[in-house]
Symmetry: C2
Subunit: 277 residues, 2 copies
Amino acid sequence: MEIVSENKAFGGTQGVYTHLSHSCSCEMTFGVFLPEEAKYGSVPVLWYLSGLTCTHENAMVKAGAQAWAAEHGIALVFPDTSPRGEKVADDDAYDLGKGAGFYVNATQTPWADHFQMWDYVAEDLPSMLQEKFPLDMSRQAITGHSMGGHGALTLAMSLPGRFRSVSAFAPICNPTGADWGKKQLSAYLGDDTDAWAKHDSSVLMLEKGFDGPVLIDQGADDQFIDLLRPETLAAAAAKRRQEFTLRMQKGYDHSYFFVSSFMEDHVAFHADALYAD
Amino acid sequence: MEIVSENKAFGGTQGVYTHLSHSCSCEMTFGVFLPEEAKYGSVPVLWYLSGLTCTHENAMVKAGAQAWAAEHGIALVFPDTSPRGEKVADDDAYDLGKGAGFYVNATQTPWADHFQMWDYVAEDLPSMLQEKFPLDMSRQAITGHSMGGHGALTLAMSLPGRFRSVSAFAPICNPTGADWGKKQLSAYLGDDTDAWAKHDSSVLMLEKGFDGPVLIDQGADDQFIDLLRPETLAAAAAKRRQEFTLRMQKGYDHSYFFVSSFMEDHVAFHADALYAD
């Protein structure tokens, strides 16, 4: 692991690091915010998974999470959204290839060599974080925006016991039924729709649910809302009697202005779960 | 109008009154809580519609709303749930007839003579309240529990401009599709399913929505949840992009212990809307 940068922020440290990812077979960059409390012992951790076109950096500089994480003594982890580098396959479209890993393990050519983002976020990066940072891995929570909200929800439901709480900002809720999803799942996973279903949070919500609280915020004026299909996840969560809160926020769009407006609530929501005993 | 009782409560007055209802052609009883501020001028008003088997009294003594209404300077109105008296038709079942008016205007025998609860709550009682109490009728909000949640939602969506905000505790969300609904709508309205649809908040949500914020709390362990069908309203509200919050509250059942646990949030939610200007 190499240090790219470390800046003092909110009494703690915002760092950016690179490491060789075994899952993705390339060098990956990620951000970690450590609150001041991390100087004295291990701290709980909140993962933030980003959306299409983002790197590790967007949320780190625009989501406004550090202020609230510092207040609650929680670390933040900002992974990248895809493998990177000259050897890594790409596509001209913004929503496939680099910046669009979709948090799946690709099985199809030309993606399978590097696009193993599920394993990267579920196994590779956590192992390294545990080794290198003062994080209490028994207290993890996860959130994300758009494609990252999809990642947060599917990881949380598929790895029971890993995360104490999950939240999402404007998540892609039903990728097997929308153009943000069918295109990527088809490219990365081929025509195996059983494999697709494992990456659809509305399907997972009906089948498994999540053993903990769920918070979802969605902008009512989100320009991409028809691709996100919040109604499918809303129905599934209500049908399952899942512990959850869904808020349709009047006038908000899909941007980081929306995300940052409700970040305080999300960090407080996760803090409740992370500090419960 | 006659005074049945008036008790000092939370600095204001909890009163119970009777009057002759023109809509229901019988004497009706209702409760009004006036906060201390009502001594000096008119105050905003929050309606609370009750559920099956309730009278005006249940919520008045068990929902714990007065403390928060006093804090926000808001009046509360607690109507009865059906016409009453010896001349009023009834049924042996708890969920039809007295205590089960369902907030509709009955068209069928033997109900049509007195069961005009929609008009009672929408027209009859408001006229009298406006005349007799220091209420600012330009600042009204509405909530309710179970059948009363159904009433609150259907009234709010069907009377645009009347209420600034609507909330519900464990509302009957889709009566045209569940046994809490089909039985009563059939008895009161006959087989005119177009008339039923006007009293189904999931249908109204898709067709009209509500021009203001909506808050819904539902207990995840509600023993009647399969009759309430929150998933139908959740999907409709999300599909409409309605400004709303839906919370599935882990471990809570259908009782007033559930209602009173979240009453503070509901009154604060309505206060935000009632004092916005």
